[in-house]
Symmetry: D4
Subunit: 216 residues, 8 copies
């Protein structure tokens, strides 16, 4: 109906550019926005929650102007300039947490921050985490992505001194209630100093880690 | 007003005698019941949730007829005969879980079943659990008692092949909501084959373990 | 994107092999996994929540390598070796609880444990349960599957001395809230020593019963 | 501050007089009201939730003008005229449900309706209910009072053809959440045609039964 | 998989025959059941929540054997014999409550009990109720069906002396949460002696009213 | 520890002065604040939720400088100048809603706005409202205060064209959950154009009405 | 089945005509209603929540008789006569709140009340609100539409003296729970005198503002 | 019963020493712990949630060995060595948030990290925040403490590029539900990259900020 009033001063104020959350937006609105920020346009925006079937039906001209990643449902034309320092570890519990873990990883990539992803570290098989612990601790910030009872966060929080952020995922059924159990579990964690994000908010965790990397 | 209609056939039917949950009962009702089941009366009942200040004010004649344990708030006159076999491990996360862990331990003692209690095994300091793992695994059933995010259950569940029961505790504040977070967390655990109890129900976990020991 | 890091040591540690929960996994991921574990492959995994329409569309080569059971939505290539002893009773309240009851039964079958299923034992017609009580009590563990108010659990729990596990189901509407009422009801049961599972978690109840059978 | 505007026409319109719910009212307000409706005053009102310690401290002149019942916390000066026909059975699960069961019974007594109270009928010991079934079924309406999982309602509902009303009680802890589990359980009952009351609302169940008796 | 174990003695025990709740049942199971109870089969069962599109696709032979009512989604082959006395008023608040109000009315018709339906009596336009009050009060029991804030129940409850049952409906959005607000509202009603049903449970209200009519 | 930073420009910006919510503030902090704003001090602030026992223990010098109203727990030294026009009707359902209704009335008095209070208008006895309707409709805004199912709001909303605000109260028990049922009920009201306040927020409703009166 | 009993006297009583909420109504019912109120019919009704795909499939004859607005999903044949005075500001936080903001705006237009819409005023970029503040404050009432944490309401409430109404939207995911977080946030706002609507209830906010404009 | 098994290696592993949460611990246990860590003992621990009345009754010998701060309810014998760099801003919304804000500030002091506290920055009076913005932005991390609707977090998050952590407080009543509304609001914030703590967890926020300062 009317075009969006972007918050243009955001990067100057908070060091993070605006992003477009695609879920719930109409196809028309998205096409208009995607057209504006293709590679080579001189402007760049991160698109999150951009469903594969929606992206696949876009005109080739738009699609070819984007780096699209189906699992994480993220797209951008041009990534921001590479940050000279800092690296983030993204640690996730199970395969089903993949889309959220990769949303975090892709956001970091877009922001020009290096990151490594460590998947399938669920605590029911502890060796999968402890084997990779030194590598994780060589990073400057840690993002933990987990659903169900999210027990990984407390274990990880007791094994690292780095700034650490937790993202509960909507993985699970019944009492897990689309991630509400994981969220409550993470907020109640006995590991001290862990900042928690909304359910499935991989994008937010990456921004939080970016604030830390920017401060180094 | 009228005396309680006990379910006398219960032990014959399910192998577990009736117990008296004291919370919410009037002082008069409890005095009458406690008088009936003192040591030497030839009958025996387990009293749970019997507050110290209430017990301390009873006539000496009643108090001396009971084995009372303040932390767990349990009392009995005479324990049931010792079971010839079987042992249960009660593993708890933090000091604050003590009253529930000991309610379980004391119920087992009353039922004539041996048990060991392993406290302060919270996963934020994993070594406290792994150091004692072999000992725990030498028991025939495991009870895990934990509040907050109850992450201990998933870790323990991935390290033992024994029948295992989880008791969430009301330890915590805010989103922990008197144990609702711990309960949801335990029910969502990624460790397979774990039976969960109501919040703070150490008595129930002991009964569940007793059903297993009785079946050996 | 990247292949799953299986917890290979699980059977050695806890006596239960890993299983694959299919809901929420992509078709591609499932086809890859199903291809790997067909009958005759020398490896075996249990697949749960594998929808009929998804299974029906698989290549014949894969389908013929599996024992698939539509009501319970479970599949496996080869069952584990038959356990020499032990039998489990699966008791359910109504027809609508069938898929969960049979998920439990099929998991037991896969694990090599004998079981009998007793359906339509809802307490609004008590005779259906009491008529079959002796048979149920001849088993070594009991699984109770019920939705709505899950009253069957308390009645059954007062009639058996065996280890007993409750699975609330998502059957019902309105205040039943997809099984939350049944779950709360089971956890509040006045029958002592009953371990409860997450809503619809027939697989978990079977694993809990297997832990008991393995301990006999 | 200002005196209550009673709904004087209520008995004429709905066959039930107004009652005074004492909880939350100031001592002053209650003394004024109690003074007005003593035995012999020619007027009569039922007082519910009138705490014993509050009643015990009233002037002797008021206390002697009332029939007070401590367990149910009810009081009235003069009961209404005896109804020529009809009798109600009040069936409760455990001792802890007593105050609610007797609130129902006392309300019926005040309304001039005969009733019998059957306590300790919890389904974990089914024989306690079945032994008294014929007596219960000789009444014209049945009130079921139960907390925890409230399983008694479904069992009773499957054994009587009479109008039947369920009152969940706040008995229980943890997930029972002050009767919310019992309430959800009763509303989800598989027994058909059962009208449910708010938690602990014994007064309401008696009124519902009175509407039935009045209609006979 | 296996056929349903009907509770054949139900009518004898509680005066109400079994009914089949169709939602969630497979098409196969329904076809089998519907075939068995067509008009002329000598047996009769009430089917509730039987969706129009499902019914419309049945073989003509089955369809012609049923009296089907699309709005209420109910079907039966033969109604039970007409009761000699008693009549029920079904009063609803808005057009959107129609399917539930008519589920109640159709259930009564099937049970052989006369009933009148009074729609659009929402209290935001009080005259619609007061105009029809005398007619409603000439019935022997009243069923109130309302969603949103369900205010109609308190108003109606203050204007009739008859046994009265409330059915909250899932009409509404946002905080109405699929009828949870209406349910809580009805249970908290200031009108005394009202028995409440689960959300959308028109069938249950009809059964409750039938218990009253049977007792006259 | 440090003194409060008042928002001094508030009256200029929004036409309403700051008020002090006393609940949860320490006795020391309140004494300091109350000393500052006594009659004759040249400044004036409204104190809400100021408990009687706390006020009664203040030094006589402070107490005599305030107009204190126990039922509403409000106090002020000097009221603001009388507004030349506008009058508000405060309509409440039951006696137990009195403290909230009077908090609204007293706030209006402090703000210099005339108001009338109409108590005991609960819809279970409709005549109490309809009798006073013309008087209520002669006011310029209406505040409805009700707990339990808060049905009064829908009825009142259908009988007045004036700006109307609803305040749910924490009156009730069980499913009423300290006013959550009344709040949901009011927000779901079928009467159009009603603005709702937080539970027990009589102060807020008065401010909302004041915004309307100020705009006349 | 039977036609709707409209509340014809509503405009006379409360100054607002009836509207038709289309969601959940059958296509047949809507076609009948839409046919009745086309432009030129002499009667007029506002239709809300009328989905575009449903409207697009209507016969041309009906469609051409309506002013339909896709984003807000509203339609009317003829608007009511223009009010001589008064103007409302509709202020919204983000693009995703558009459908609700425009439902409010369109309802005002239908009621003959002027309004301006201010979109994208989210507080994470405060300048977007402060820049337009004078214009907003020149209106006679303010409607604030916001999802997520709804922080805009408190900021706006502290910057205007006008009657102000808040509409939480269902925008958001996870803990935002379809607007429940925004609703709780708005009701807890520290800005005094703000009346809140149900989630997504733009229609209701417009009616509340209309009551104010009508009172000027 | 048995002494606590401290996690001695914690500082080495995660850079943060263990702390003692006093709420819920018995007086005996606290006296024993407090005796052990007095100034001059060579060891040091932070005590949180240590109530003033409990502290005031301790033997003088213990009290004199502690730096106790009543508002924040924190105590320590000896603070850790001052960190050479880094400073944290603690920003709170209202006076009632003081105890949580100061728990954060005192924890930072104990950890040897400099901090400034900015109180009364609630967004209903925006100037109180914007006036102090430059000072806040000169710090290296920001902690935001707010109850009610917690709108301050979104505003602050849009005005700083620093790592930022939010602590919802239990300030508020009704729908605020002891901080659940503030928690949901913060987690739903539209400001990107904000890590959230459990309700009232000022200690946790300080630890999170310390992880950042340690990483500089």
């Amino acid at each position: 109906m009317n075009s969006i009033l972007f918050d243009h001063g955001r990067t100057a104020r908070i060091g993070l550019p605006e992003a477009v959350f695609c879920e719930g937006k109409s196809r028309e609105a998205l096409v208009e926005l995607l057209s504006r920020f293709v590679k080579g346009s001189g402007q760049s925006v991160l698109f999150t929650r951009l469903a594969l079937d929606l992206f696949a039906e876009l005109p080739e001209m738009i699609r070819s102007g984007y780096d699209y990643h189906p699992l994480s449902r993220t797209a951008f034309g041009t990534a921001l300039p590479m940050q000279p320092k800092g690296k983030v570890a993204v640690v996730s519990a199970g395969t089903a947490d993949g889309s959220v873990a990769w949303e975090a990883a892709r956001t970091l990539t877009y922001l020009g921050i290096r990151c490594d992803v460590y998947e399938d570290c669920g605590v029911a098989g502890l060796w999968r985490l402890t084997e990779r612990l030194d590598e994780i601790n060589s990073c400057d910030a840690v993002i933990v992505v987990a659903g169900l009872d999210a027990a990984l966060l407390s274990v990880m929080g007791g094994l690292t001194a780095k700034p650490i952020f937790g993202v509960p995922t909507s993985v699970g059924y019944g009492i897990a209630r689309q991630g509400q159990a994981a969220l409550a579990s993470m907020l109640s964690s006995c590991a001290p100093g862990v900042g928690i994000m909304n359910i499935d908010n991989g994008y937010g965790a990456a921004c939080a880690a970016a604030r830390v990397i920017n401060a180094l």
